[in-house]
Chain length 376, copies 2
């Protein structure tokens, strides 16, 4: 904490911790690159070739600001979802949009509800605007709508966060369950439905989009199935009256020309999305098999990663993770018990999976040695 | 304004106005593209060819998030300025960084000081965080350090904004004047020194960078001389203790991989920057000559635009602007009297200048007709 008395008391009270340390920082610390980059839920299969071409063409036009209204991209996304362009707000990734959303709805002292161990960047923004965060436990490795709604009613939550599918567990609820949750949101609350991974989930995971409902905001991204994490483009779908409010506070020129061009080509390439969905499903099975081959239990996943139960406690899983990182396999893991008995492994290339398969037995053996024969 | 009672009272009170309407929106409204795009202070000469190449290569790597610490770019910028990497914070353009800066230092009701008619995005962010903005007039078309400091002392300002060189007037103070201002900033205030255009100003405009001074933050951008407005990369230079505080609130993964690659190549191409500086200086003279040829008075400019005194009042200048836009020449103008007697014309290509030279006599003639022979 700083002792700079010019800072607002809120900012002065905030910790210097960051939601995620990047793999590049870890590579700099270890002095060599990772052999497999499977920790950030990126798509190693890359974006649509059309998107790469569009970005390369746009590179020569970067002397111009991007359209602050992102008209073409916004209309293409609206068409993709069958909603109006005024139901879409674009931003610098879901992360950036979550920050704006917290700012719109939460005063210092207002409450938000999430699950203990769910996506930490939401928590970061709630803290950043002085909100009070209440958590409920996962139930059977799933975020639990009933618990979230009950806690929200108890604390009069302004915002209720749920990711479906969930990160870091990869679990999900079907559309009927999510629709029931949406229908139960109190009028005084807003449901933040983070659907970053929904393109990769089974048919029937996303409930129908109803833009007449002012109590739910649905967050989508180009960072996962679309393979454009390094562009930073996300969007939120909602009631036009709510969407319009973002214009009062957002960085209007925040979305650049290359970013808009790449995302536009990506949203229009349905074929690539279908190809990626299948490829990722095969990759999940490959990782699950590697886990099983090593006596571990993979959780069924609707995302581009597989969360693997190491069969013991958090200390055990953290040791497995450390040994894998030492061996050049970048992965991450859930931060909170009991989910932290697991490690989280992103779908990669065949080469990435081979590196994982080669490193995992040794990582487990070393961990068991350190932990005096603890199972896992 | 929305009547949504879930919004914070501050957000509910904010107007829906935006700092700038993009030229694309104007093109959509008029149904045809502009012949000359000279209104957004962009660099028609584009970025360094090395930057274009770097962005094109990075396009294939966009499946990876950008390094959240922007290590390589930050270190290259630090080397460029001869400061430490911990004196540099990158962000989504100066606009984004201004928003974060206001958030760090201003509580609702706190005061900031700027000049009436200066860069409006600072004002937008002050309003967005509930701050109270005090303004002082320009003096001889320059932002006036003495007036700003006096007002800051009077209202106990948390933030004092000045752009040097100034936008929208193109005027500037020399390094000695700016250093005197920096030295006079009260300990309880922070000087926001926006140097977006300083690369294009005469030698001796930027005072030495002193990172031991915790009372000044200096804002730079890749959007102007570097020709990368469409990438959205800006940075702030300051005392390491102040710079570190941004990490508590910023969107850590907000700067993408293409953006970092393009900016890195740009900062390393000193030759291109020197070429652009000369080219822009020639372009300023070309615009000034067109203004003089039409009986108007160009202000001497240290930027990539020339502000031209139309010799009458704001209504007259607004009519000239409207006629130029009608003729396909996109420009903007100062918003507040007495500066709004001027129009602001960006340096363009020879073709852009030819379009301006062709359109200006008619625009002036039509305006004089409408205004009953008013001079200008």
């Amino acid at each position: 904490m700083s002792t700079d008395t010019r800072l607002t008391p809120l900012v002065a009270s905030l910790p210097a911790t960051v939601p995620f340390v990047g793999p590049e920082a870890q590579e700099r610390a270890r002095g060599r690159p990772f052999a497999a980059r499977l920790g950030a839920n990126e798509s190693v299969f890359g974006p649509s070739p059309n998107a790469i071409r569009a970005m390369q063409e746009a590179a020569a036009e970067t002397w111009m600001y991007g359209d602050p209204e992102a008209h073409d991209l916004r209309h293409a996304i609206a068409a993709h979802h069958g909603v109006g362009a005024d139901n879409i707000m674009l931003g610098e990734g879901i992360d950036g949009l979550l920050g704006l959303t917290v700012r719109l709805f939460m005063r210092p002292g207002d409450c938000a509800v999430t699950s203990a161990g769910a996506y930490p960047t939401f928590n970061y923004h709630v803290a950043g605007f002085g909100g009070t965060l209440h958590t409920v436990p996962y139930v059977k490795d799933c975020e639990d709508p009933a618990s979230l709604l009950a806690k929200a009613a108890e604390v009069d939550a302004k915002l209720i966060y749920i990711a479906n599918p969930d990160n870091p567990m990869g679990t999900w609820h079907d559309a009927a369950a999510m629709q029931a949750m949406i229908d139960a949101v109190p009028e005084t609350s807003m449901l933040i439905l983070d659907e970053a991974y929904v393109d990769l989930a089974p048919e029937g995971t996303a409930p129908d989009i109803d833009t007449t409902n002012p109590n739910v905001l649905r967050f989508r991204t180009f960072s996962k199935a679309h393979g454009l994490a390094g562009l930073r483009v996300g969007y939120v779908i909602g009631h036009a009256d709510v969407i319009a409010v973002y214009d009062r506070v957002r960085n209007h020129f925040g979305l650049g020309r290359v970013a808009q061009a790449g995302a536009l080509a990506a949203i229009q390439d349905e074929e690539w999305l279908a190809h990626i969905t299948k490829t990722v499903a095969r990759g999940r099975e490959a990782i699950a098999q590697i886990a099983r081959d090593n006596g571990l239990v993979p959780l069924t996943s609707a995302t581009n990663f597989v969360t693997v139960d190491c069969g013991a406690d958090g200390a055990f899983a953290r040791a497995v993770l450390a040994h894998l990182i030492e061996a050049g396999v970048f992965i991450r893991m859930p931060g909170i018990a009991p989910q932290d008995r697991c490690i989280r492994i992103g779908v990669g290339s065949d080469g990435d999976h081979a590196a994982l398969a080669a490193a995992l037995p040794t990582a487990l053996a070393k961990t068991r040695e350190d932990h005096g024969g603890q199972s896992g």
